[in-house]
Amino acid sequence: MKAYHRPTTVQDALDVLSGGPARIVAGCTDLFPATGARELQGQVVDITAIADLRGVMRASGGWRIGAATRWVDVMRADLPAAFHMLQQAAREVGSVQIQNTATVAGNLCNASPAADGVPCLLALDAVVEIGSAAGVRRVAIGDFITGIRQTVLRPGEMVLAVHVPDAAARGRSRFLKLGARRYLVISIAMVAVRLEIESGGITRAAVAVGACSAVARRMVRLEAVLEGARLEDAANRVEASLVLPDLAPIDDIRADASYRGVAALELIRRAVIDLVQT
């Protein structure tokens, strides 16, 4: 007999997970589409009733986004400008219906190359807090997703939260998504850019691109060049030679690789222009 667990505490959830293989579910916006069945299959641990996993709040040394925080919660939260890109991405996740149920951790754990939240969390230097019966470990978001639909999560583990350190919760940010239609669309390319600006120059830059590679990536070469740039000069520094080597774009039905390279470059440029002008 397969059970449907809906624990109200993290400890209860971890206890179930330590008892054997189980599927962790939250918004179910990826799990249900993956099955033709009229119900979720297998042993289920539904984490949406765990109050501690819900919400965005200040925590020691930074910000904590609970695993079961829905995109609509992110959208409505009062957050510094560094998070605006995440809030802009939240508005682009599927549709209003999806934003009302889909969660931040679900977006990470589903590990789709086109996950809207991932580039923003990359550009926020987010750290994933993973719990299990053995305790808690933290993994940088860039190390958390290892491939298409692959993460470092081990049996018995679950994501508890995503942390954004104060050092990264600074500056202004912009998310741009390119798709073939307006709503309910899987991205062809998307970029998340965060810039820290002081006295007319960029002191720190974080640039991430999603939907162009198997896993969203930080554009480290470009970031190095942007840092130290004068604002009026910043957009001109966004060059293909700095982006394409880090991007390694892919072909699929939505676009070919060369287009993705062009589009990513253009979107980064526009995001930078937008940020240095505001």
Binding site: M1, K2, A3, Y4, R6, V25, G27, C28, T29, F32, P33, G36, A37, R38, E39, L40, Q41, G42, V44, D46, T48, V72, G94, S95, V96, Q97, I98, N100, T101, L178, A180, R181, R182, Y183, L184, V185, I186, I188, I253, R254, A255, D256, S258, Y259, V262, A263, E266, L267
Partner: protein
């Protein structure tokens, strides 16, 4: 898999219910299956369509993605729980519900917005409804209705006798659509119904061998009945055109397409739902690729040809010549209702209630397959949640019919979205090339067209497409020398059938792109170029048919002022963009259409029955299926004015093959014209009977009272006592039946003849912006001028135009069906609320001498010019000539760069 059942407390629409249920089940399934709340529709089971939108504590969510456990203890609101009021009335008033399948989801999403914002802006509405797909309306009227919901209005009055035609009447069958009570294919489940599922081919061509079915059955959780080709009692071949019937209901030995059914399983629903059909005992083996069908050499199904005049002389005379090749992909109909239906035995006869566009064809074909006489079968069309051509072909009917016939029990089948997309028909992929020449003044001298149409594994409507394309590839223009050939050729792939326009939209893209080339070469304005070539009354078409009532010139004329204004806007915007070194360029494009209404050179009669009961009720037996386009309303309007009684007096019956005479299929833009004319004749005949009985003159007024018809004029009033007339053979005090069949003549070997009795015409202009760095296109405005001959119902007509434009926009920019790859609604993209332009519709009336009260068809015309107008606008804006559709951003950007070379 067994799941522990728990008792959950659900608060649905204000009532609390304790329900024993698996907590992991989709909320949509529980609402529909356990609570009978069928207003919540299921279109995709993946959160892609939003039809199942319900409110959880006031927030819209997809019920298909919500485990019922998460809904427990929260306030669940479905369409049945909405206060019937202003929002639904606004939907009716604006014609926001066409087929009605998306309407409950739209209403729920809109209500959530209106609860927050009483008078939302257009942008707020677009965003709030962005997660609900509609394939009928183009969203314009839905958005207008939501924006207008706050304004209290009186219900509009129904037109007086003689004033129905031309009135913007709300659809007569609209109420159930906005109340969530409409019964679509999946919405009726008789007590004890068996569930039917199909085992389908994973690829093709393949041979297969069925394994030990008895052993497999024995290990299932309950009784499972299995049916294979060997169980089909009649002729295991069907097809919409009898001479080409080639598709088995259940394949035998080998399959020709992915998704082809090879076996059925049926039984108690929970048992059948839990089956893992991947483990069904069948062994697949790749098959050597030979002919798709023995006897069809080179896989050629049909070749269509139209030629007229001296082609060599015409091209020799040309001062300017343009040539081009264009390819278009498979296009999926993407109606929000996947195929569904139910069959049961009643008094020794088989009854099938399923979504369809062609009940009588369904009856006759299903009877043949099942070894029955047609009169042993009754087809009751359920409401159809969109059709657009694909629901002309049989889908679930023979399958549920077979199971009901063999078991004696009701049998129900609901296709999944993936199953629907794999197994249903598509728009033909086309590879086309053409050349057109014109003289120095811009007059066309000759045109040659060649089109290869991938008709897929089975014939379906392939012959019709191959026949229609050469007739229409000229566009509504006078062309003295012409040769057009189209071939429907088989492949081991998805079936191409009927989709709004039967190949004409594809051909028109090529023709209209070439017209822009020629206008440029001749140094002419693009609209003026089309106008001087527009077909006129008394001129012969490429089939040699001399036409009257030709409306293309009037449509182009109606666009002249908007065209000049749009060109001016674009030029100004581009000048500003140039000055600022901006990346956005503006462009304007135009294209025309014409389309013959009804079958091509073949009989296609409709019969209408009209009666007055002894009690004095006027009853219209209306057999034309209304798939959202409005036949129930439009046919009634024509009939009411013909008999000259108020529209409100009409009681609609049908469609139902036991209750309504044959009105043919809802296709080829024929219902308003053909069934409308039958309704006109029936109305006139009934009026004549009444006038004769009362011995009154032709201008007399009629009035219905209980048991009586009152006939009056200025001098006298006569009362016909209906009871005294007794009951005629149809059970009425007075009744008539009238048939109309359009006068056509078959085409000869050169495609010369009278293919259609009536044509409709139109022209559209598109305004777009193109992002020159990203290749993205935004259609900002479409101005559409369509000649309807006589506008029967302007509200519904505008709805048709807007919906056609949405499908044309999808064809131009978004849609590409790839078998096995885009069998869902997140990889196959249709427009959302946020993709639609502002639409201005201009209804033109150039009466047709043959159509009822001058009316012409409209349904398919409306999508034909959209894609070429958009493509021409993209070129005008950016120089990019996109010849492979859809014009996805990467293709547009490549074309921009090629143009710049």
């Amino acid at each position: 898999m067994n799941r522990r059942i728990e008792t959950l407390r659900l608060n649905v629409n204000g009532a609390s219910v304790d329900l024993p249920v698996s907590p992991a089940r989709r909320l949509s399934d529980v609402l529909r299956g356990d609570l009978g709340l069928i207003g919540t529709k299921v279109g995709c089971d993946a959160g892609d369509c939003g039809a199942c939108t319900v409110l959880l504590d006031g927030e819209p969510v997809c019920a298909c993605l919500t485990p019922v456990a998460q809904a427990a203890g929260r306030q669940i609101t479905t369409v049945e729980g909405m206060e019937p009021g202003a929002l639904q009335q606004a939907f009716l008033r604006h014609g926001a519900a066409q087929c009605g399948i998306c309407t409950p989801g739209m209403l729920m999403a809109a209500q959530a917005l209106l609860d927050r914002v009483a008078r939302p802006t257009r942008t707020e509405v677009e965003e709030a409804l962005g997660g609900v797909l509609c394939r009928c309306t183009g969203y314009a009227k839905i958005i207008e209705a939501v924006m207008d919901a706050a304004a209290p209005r009186e219900a509009p009055e129904m037109p007086l006798a003689g004033a129905a035609v031309g009135a913007a009447v709300e659809r007569l069958d609209g109420l159930p659509k906005v109340a969530g009570t409409e019964v679509f294919g999946a919405d009726y489940t008789p007590e004890g119904a068996l569930l039917v599922r199909a085992v389908r081919a994973p690829d093709a061509p393949m041979d297969f061998v069925l394994g030990d079915i008895e052993a497999w059955r024995a290990v299932q959780a309950g009784e499972v009945r299995v049916f294979t080709a060997a169980d089909v009692p009649g002729v295991n071949l069907f097809g919409v055109i009898a001479a080409f019937a080639d598709q088995p209901v259940l394949a035998s030995g080998h399959v020709r397409m992915r998704g082809e059914a090879v076996a059925l399983v049926a039984g108690e629903p929970s048992v059948i739902e839990a089956l893992d059909l991947e483990r069904f005992p069948v062994t697949w083996e790749a098959r050597k690729r030979g002919l798709v069908h023995e006897g069809r050499a080179d896989d050629l199904l049909v070749r269509g040809l139209v030629q007229r005049g001296d082609l060599a002389e015409g091209f020799a005379r040309a001062a300017h010549l343009a040539t081009l090749a264009v390819s278009t992909p498979y296009i999926e109909h993407a109606y929000i209702e996947p195929e569904a239906g139910v069959a049961w035995m009643e008094d020794g006869r088989l009854v099938i209630q399923a979504c369809t566009q062609a009940p009588v064809m369904d009856r006759d074909e299903t009877a043949k397959v099942l070894g029955l006489q047609p009169d042993q079968l009754r087809i009751i069309p359920s409401a159809a949640g969109g059709g657009f051509g694909s629901k002309l072909d049989l889908s679930v009917q023979p399958l549920v019919g077979l199971v009901a016939l063999k078991t004696g029990k009701p049998a129900r089948m609901v296709w999944s979205r993936a199953e629907s997309m794999a197994a249903s028909t598509k728009r033909h992929p086309a590879n086309m090339s053409a050349r057109i020449g014109c003289d120095p003044d811009g007059r066309i001298t000759a045109m040659e067209f060649d089109g290869e149409f991938n008709t897929g594994a089975y014939a379906s409507w392939g012959p019709t497409v191959a026949g229609r394309v050469p007739v229409h590839a000229s566009g509504p223009y006078f062309i003295p020398a012409y040769r057009a050939e189209a071939r429907a050729r088989h492949t081991f792939s998805a079936i191409s059938g009927a989709f709004r326009g039967f190949g004409v939209p594809q051909a028109t893209i090529l023709q209209e792109m070439l017209y822009d080339d020629l206008a440029a070469q001749a140094g002419m304005d693009r609209l003026a170029f089309r106008q001087i070539n527009a077909l006129c009354d008394g001129q012969a078409t490429v089939c040699g048919q001399v036409l009257q009532g030709v409306g293309i010139s009037a449509c182009l004329k109606a666009l002249e002022a908007p065209w000049q204004a749009a060109l001016g806007r674009a030029a100004e915007a581009n000048q500003q963009a140039n000055q600022k070194a901006g990346v956005i360029r503006h462009g304007v494009g135009i294209a025309s259409c014409w389309y013959g209404c009804g079958n091509t050179g073949l009989a296609n009669p409709s019969t209408i029955r009209l009666g007055i009961t002894p009690q004095g009720r006027l009853v219209l037996h209306q057999g034309a299926t209304d798939i959202g386009q409005g036949a129930n309303t439009v046919i009634a309007q024509i009939c009411a004015d013909a008999v000259r009684l108020p529209l409100a007096a009409i009681n609609l019956v049908g469609p139902d093959t036991d209750l309504t005479p044959d009105c043919g299929k809802t296709s080829a833009s024929r219902q308003t014209f053909v069934t409308g004319k039958a309704a006109l004749l029936a109305g006139q005949a009934l009026r004549a009977r009444i006038l004769a009985l009362s011995n009154m003159g032709p201008e007399a007024r009629l009035r219905l009272e209980p048991g009586h018809v009152i006939v009056s004029d200025a001098q006298a009033e006569r009362r016909i006592d209906l009871d005294a007339l007794g009951s005629d053979e149809r059970g009425y005090a007075l009744s008539v039946e009238e048939t109309y069949d359009p006068p056509t003549a078959p085409l000869d070997g050169n495609g010369q003849g009278t293919p259609y009795a009536v044509y409709g015409y139109g022209a559209q202009m598109a305004e777009v912006t193109v992002d020159m760095s990203l290749g993205t296109v935004r259609v900002t405005r479409i101005t559409a001028a369509h000649d309807l001959g006589r506008v029967i119902n302007p509200l519904l007509a505008r709805g048709q135009v807007e919906g056609g434009i949405a499908q044309g926009l999808g064809l131009a920019l978004l849609e590409e069906f790839i078998p096995g790859r885009t069998e869902n609604l997140h990889d196959y993209l249709i427009p959302t609320t946020g993709d639609m332009p502002e639409i201005e519709t201009i209804l033109v009336e150039v009466p047709d001498p043959e159509g009822p009260m001058g009316a012409k068809g409209l349904g398919e015309h409306v999508l034909i010019p959209t894609a070429p107008a958009i493509l021409n606008a993209i070129r005008h804006a950016s120089g990019a000539r996109v010849t492979r559709l859809p014009a996805l951003p990467h293709r547009v950007l490549t074309a921009i760069r090629e143009a710049a070379r």
